[in-house]
Symmetry: C2
Subunit: 418 residues, 2 copies
């Protein structure tokens, strides 16, 4: 792997994921400009300094009848006029893809400061229509057309695979859900921070907690969320200036230590075949998710989960977090339940997963999730995560997934350990 220039993360801004922008009478443009406002204010960066803008967005064409979101950002300020802009998409991994592209441009030496905006407005449509839109992240004609809420069913199938291969028990999924909701209560921007939720509720079944796709019940699902999360990425030259301006040392500024990006076959049938083959060989059952993670470890020059202080993972459903726990290497294949039972993934545990509350607790504005995850790791490794701070965190990882574990993007962000 090529030795690349270091790219720094300077922080950013996240909108309150509990907001319903349509009810406020605000559209995606309003969200975009509020998020940009917040990001400039939070970092003290002037729009004039930005050299390139990348937008991660899944499907504003469907939810908001608006494409060309990169260009839309230029309207924020005359100072942004003429900048290169673009929008990037890989379903629910769109935010991470935008981050990958921005980082690469800086590595290639073209720009020193990139603004990366993850954004999605979803409450513009009813849940059935929204479920159908999300179906375009799968192979729509084969896996989603005419299926009500295709994604709980697809990730329910991931649960079935775990049940068949490893005897997955529902109580472990309920614990994942419970922890995410608990963590979210400490996150002032989490969608569910004021919701009533408990382990008893998660364990219940039937009218209070309907099954929506195989083993997946309502409490196993991430939320439908309106929101945006902005991060700034910078070259070493810019980061040095920025550190000086803020009276910080460069080594206290987080940087992208490593990343991985791998795509699985889009059809879940093929993923299932791969899972059975992997099990036979004692490998992790989602080989491409595993590859994205191990590539990121290699690039970061770290050994594995023992060198991480936290993970912000893509718990679109509890089954995807269940898979992530072991695929990050915290346990051998099929043994994620041990880490759950031992409390390893709780804040204060061996390797906290989703201290922010994740997609289940914090919310899942599809195109914003990838940048929100990186922003949360930034908060953790700079000791600014408030109530959900993982004590002493220096290095964190993100896993952002598009489709049914189809696109897998991992980032490892950290500061130098003293």
């Amino acid at each position: 792997m090529a030795k690349a220039k270091r790219v720094y993360v300077l922080g950013g801004y996240q909108t309150d994921f509990a907001r319903n922008w349509s009810k406020e009478g605000k559209n995606i443009q309003a969200m975009l400009y509020e998020a940009m406002d917040g990001a400039f204010a939070a970092t003290g960066i002037d729009p004039e300094e930005v050299e390139t803008i990348h937008v991660g967005n899944f499907a504003a064409e469907l939810y908001a009848m608006q494409g060309h979101l990169g260009a839309m950002a230029v309207n924020y300020s005359e100072k942004l006029r003429s900048l290169p802009t673009s929008r990037h998409e890989a379903a629910c991994a769109s935010g991470a893809i935008a981050t990958l592209v921005a980082r690469t441009e800086i590595e290639a030496g073209h720009y020193d400061l990139a603004m990366v905006i993850g954004i999605e407005i979803m409450k513009t449509v009813d849940s059935k229509t929204g479920g159908d839109f999300l179906g375009t992240a799968a192979w729509y004609e084969k896996e989603a057309k005419g299926v009500q809420f295709p994604f709980p069913k697809l990730f329910g199938r991931l649960g079935s695979v775990y049940q068949e291969l490893y005897g997955l028990k529902y109580e472990h999924l309920a614990e994942i859900s419970t922890i995410n909701y608990e963590n979210a209560k400490k996150n002032p921007l989490a969608q569910t921070r004021d919701w009533y939720m408990s382990k008893e509720h998660a364990l219940s079944q039937g009218s209070y907690n309907m099954e929506v796709g195989g083993i997946i019940r309502i409490t196993d699902c991430s939320q439908v969320t309106d929101g945006a999360a902005v991060i700034f990425l910078a070259s070493e030259d810019y980061a040095k200036k920025y550190a000086k301006r803020h009276g910080k040392k460069l080594k206290k500024i987080p940087y992208i230590m490593g990343w991985g990006h791998a795509t699985a076959p889009i059809l879940f049938d093929v993923k299932t075949e791969e899972a059975y083959a992997a099990k036979k060989e004692g490998r992790y059952i989602l080989p491409h998710t595993r590859k994205a993670i191990t590539d990121a470890y290699k690039r970061a020059g770290i050994r594995g989960p023992k060198d991480l202080d936290l993970v912000e993972t893509h718990d679109c459903f509890t089954t995807s977090e269940y898979a992530a726990i072991e695929h990050f290497g915290l346990t051998p294949p099929g043994e994620a339940y041990r880490a759950i039972e031992d409390g390893d993934i709780r804040i204060g545990g061996k390797l906290p997963f989703n201290p922010s509350g994740g997609l289940i607790g914090a919310g899942h504005p599809v195109g914003a999730t990838g940048t929100r995850q990186i922003l949360d790791v930034f908060r953790q490794v700079t000791g600014t995560a408030g109530e959900y701070q993982v004590e002493g965190a220096k290095i964190g990882a993100t896993l952002n997934i598009g489709g049914s574990a189809t696109t897998n993007v991992v980032h490892i962000v950290g500061v130098e350990r003293d």
Copy 2:
């Protein structure tokens, strides 16, 4: 500007733009796989060699209810499994954006061989619905909602600006249209190659050639097109191997000499203000289009149009080609008509524009146009453009535009002059 590593263009494949895939009962997946088939066959590259896949697409979510097209490409062959994939969008400039990202990844040293796929299926809907979908490339709520065919009107306004500032005459637009249709007759993949079209028709007005937006008549419009265009980009290491395998010299393989990428304010009202201000100062009236072009010249280390042998430009309407002629520097501001009258833009002229027939003659499958343009320059500078060959061409430029001249992306591709 950073001195970047050289990135080579190895050719690719274009589908026949005259085809109507819906009438053939084929969907976007079929188009994707046919285009990939063609590209592997045309270049002799094996799928196993590809290291990254980028898709340029405007709005498959709307036209084909399918997102996540990057991932869709992986299904083409087991050999592509696990590759990094993504889709990029900037309205009608999506193909060029995908190309920019792929090039940057190679420059940064991450990959040696990238497959870039521009694709759009558009004949899945009636023309009114399609016109509405295209409205999402503008600021939909302000410029397109409830407007029938918003884009001819927006580019009609560009014509009005030229009329007011420089006394544009319709006959010059008719000549642009005529040349594009004429050139297209020589292009075996052009959508209009068998259409009846003449200068008389272009000059006519009324029921045979309706005005659809100010000065814009039917003959001034590009086509609604189904199509894909694939190109391969490679590092010098890979290009050397490739040249050797094909018994060619590396210096005969085209490379990306320069590029430019600039975004104008999305609203045409603001562009109009800028145009008036620019006119006063004797500058070109689309300053961001001009910037993309001059940035590309700088990066390519060339002086301007005198060092180019051809241009493939974004003639979504004749007015955008009219602007491009002068913005490339072929004439001073407001004098594009001189180049048209002098025959400069014809094949055989001083600087042929759109020998392929462009978007008007060859067709405009939105997300594929940017890659099709680069593929056409590749054909020209390798002397393989057949009937529409510009004799002795060594260096060509492309201009791919998103929205109403909002996103502007320029590529300069060439081989070394002996």
